[in-house]
Amino acid sequence: MTSVPTLPARRRTMRWRDRDALYGYLFSAPAVLGSLAFVIAPLIAVVWYSLHEWNVLANTFTFIGGENYTRMLTDAALHDSLWASLWFSLGVLVLNMTLALALAVLLNQHLPGTTLFRVLFFSPVVVSLVAWTIVWGFLLQADNGVNAFLAALGVTGPNWLRGSVTAMIAVVVVQVFKNVGLNMVLFLAALQGVPEDIGEAARLDGAGAWRRFTSITLPMISPTMLLVGILTLVGSLETFALIDVLTDGGPGTSTTVLVFYLYRQAFEFNQFGYASAIAVLLFVIVLALTLLQWQTRKKWVFHES
């Protein structure tokens, strides 16, 4: 008697739940099928292609096992590009983090005009990288922009894009000015999360501003710094447009970073098989950095709670 009224109710719940599961599949279907078609299938394909000699122009597609990978070991141009990537990424990392932190600290001083300056420092983030790079290409000519500015100060600037070291410095600086605003805002949020009473207590104990910064502020924002650092590294590894527009990998191969070398092999030399092997290498590097980031984030969340 008591169970009779509840039965239809329960059945209705069951039906809702079954139908709900159906909605779950329907709602997620575009994302899931899209991932299978445009992420996972291409990922498997690129590994498969990397085991082939595949020249698009000659129309060859021959299985060669690991030969593309052994070729990597002796390919001097690839080694050059790995070195270029390393210098570029390290340069971007150090300069971006330092500048972002300095700007964030400045913006956190409650100075007049802070909102305006935050907008100015952030504005290159929303500008297209190609547009930004074109303007800097113009500025970095032998006698224009930057060097004219330096000449006004009595300094003779180098022909930036014609020397291998200065070209590397140029791509690093252009990339950093483009993106530093984002890291600056992330640091600013972290700085504003630092409780002010700790600093105040240290100040009363006679700690100077620099001491308070290095002993209190830096340790407290170090998790953000680690995270932002890895994100910056991964981003620098994926930089293509800047190199293509500003230096075309040159002079020589001095700014041919890994992604640019991959593009060259595929779409200029038509070596799709070898390019796929380079893509696998790039994927492994980015994957390692990402896993490192997840690991550190897990630790960080644990400490926070």
Binding site: F38, D143, L182, A190, V286, W294
Partner: protein, 313 residues
């Protein structure tokens, strides 16, 4: 980091820093009994430092705009003139006569709008399903989607090019719309929508269910309209990402009337491949200024949206 750097892996929880509104200031702390005069001087020095540091951020945009008004002979003059001596709009006329620039502008605009709308639809539906609906295999399906966050677009460009080629879609806009909406670039959006819907109050859904709404009704009438902040963040970074896309257009497109803006900007070159600077800078100005205007108007939403997605992603 650039917007295209935002495709970053997930986290179980957004950072505490990401939750508070970025850049809003706590009230100014009371300082101790420092001599006010020294403090004033110190603060003036800091403002001066900020002005100096702002130069490399502002100078390029100003130099771009002023140089785009120079005649061909003036732009080559050494040393360069600070202001255009006889400002001319001729470079702006050449922008449109050397290339179908208006068409290219429209291409970029409609592709970015289509990608933004498509991404919001796909990401909101999937994010809602993974956050609110219990169905068998949900976690496995979510992992399949998340793999996209680990894959830089350069890694899969060769197989995707082959796929597009096989389907006969080279030199069309289809790959620039469909792949970003369904593939790796939309995964961060799905993740952000899921993070938002996880915190969504269940009572609201229960109320909708009592009123006889279907799951789709609950999503469309209750959950999605309340997700405005997350949708705005997704819209901003998705639009910018599509608008700024470079590698994919140069791989997939070959005829000038199909080009998108970043690709078109690099095409203002003379017979020797050297850039025609004033025209190129005029085209660049036309590309950059509208985005900067929108950014200045909605700077708070832009900075918060991009920073929050940057950290969560």
């Amino acid at each position: 980091m650039s917007p295209d750097q935002l495709t970053k892996p997930p986290t179980a929880q957004p950072s505490p820093g990401a939750r508070r509104p970025v850049g809003r200031h706590s009230p100014r702390p009371r300082r101790g009994k420092r001599p006010p005069r020294a403090e004033h001087l110190g603060r003036a020095a800091l403002v001066f430092l900020m002005v100096l540091l702002a130069v490399p951020f502002v100078f390029p945009t100003w130099w771009m705009a002023s140089s785009s008004l120079k005649t061909t002979s003036e732009i080559l003059r050494i040393p360069p003139t600070v202001w255009a001596e006889s400002p001319t709009l001729a470079p702006y006329r050449d922008v449109f006569t050397l290339q179908p620039f208006a068409q290219q502008y429209m291409n970029s605009l409609y592709i970015a709008v289509a990608v933004t709308i498509g991404t919001i639809a796909v990401a909101a539906l999937a994010g809602y399903a993974f956050a609110r609906i219990r169905f068998p295999g949900a976690n496995a399906l979510f992992v399949i989607v998340l793999i996209g966050m680990l894959v830089p677009s350069e890694v899969t460009i060769v197989p995707l090019f082959r796929m597009v080629n096989t389907l006969g879609l080279i030199d069309t806009h289809w790959p620039l719309i469909v792949i970003p909406v369904l593939g790796a670039p939309s995964v961060l959006a799905t993740f952000i929508m899921r993070q938002f819907f996880i915190t969504f109050p269940g009572e609201l859904e229960e109320a909708g269910r009592m009123d006889g709404l279907t799951r789709f009704g609950i999503f469309a009438r209750i959950a999605f309209p309340l997700a405005r902040s997350a949708v705005a963040a997704v819209a901003i970074f998705t639009f910018l990402k599509s608008w700024n896309l470079y590698l994919e257009p140069i791989v997939y497109l070959s005829s000038k009337e199909n080009f998108t803006l970043p690709q078109a900007l690099t095409q203002y070159v003379d017979a020797y491949g050297g850039p025609i600077w004033n025209v190129q800078l005029a085209a660049t100005t036309l590309t950059v200024i509208p985005v900067l205007i929108v950014f200045v108007i909605a700077q708070r939403q832009f900075i918060q949206g991009l920073a929050n997605t940057g950290l969560k992603g």
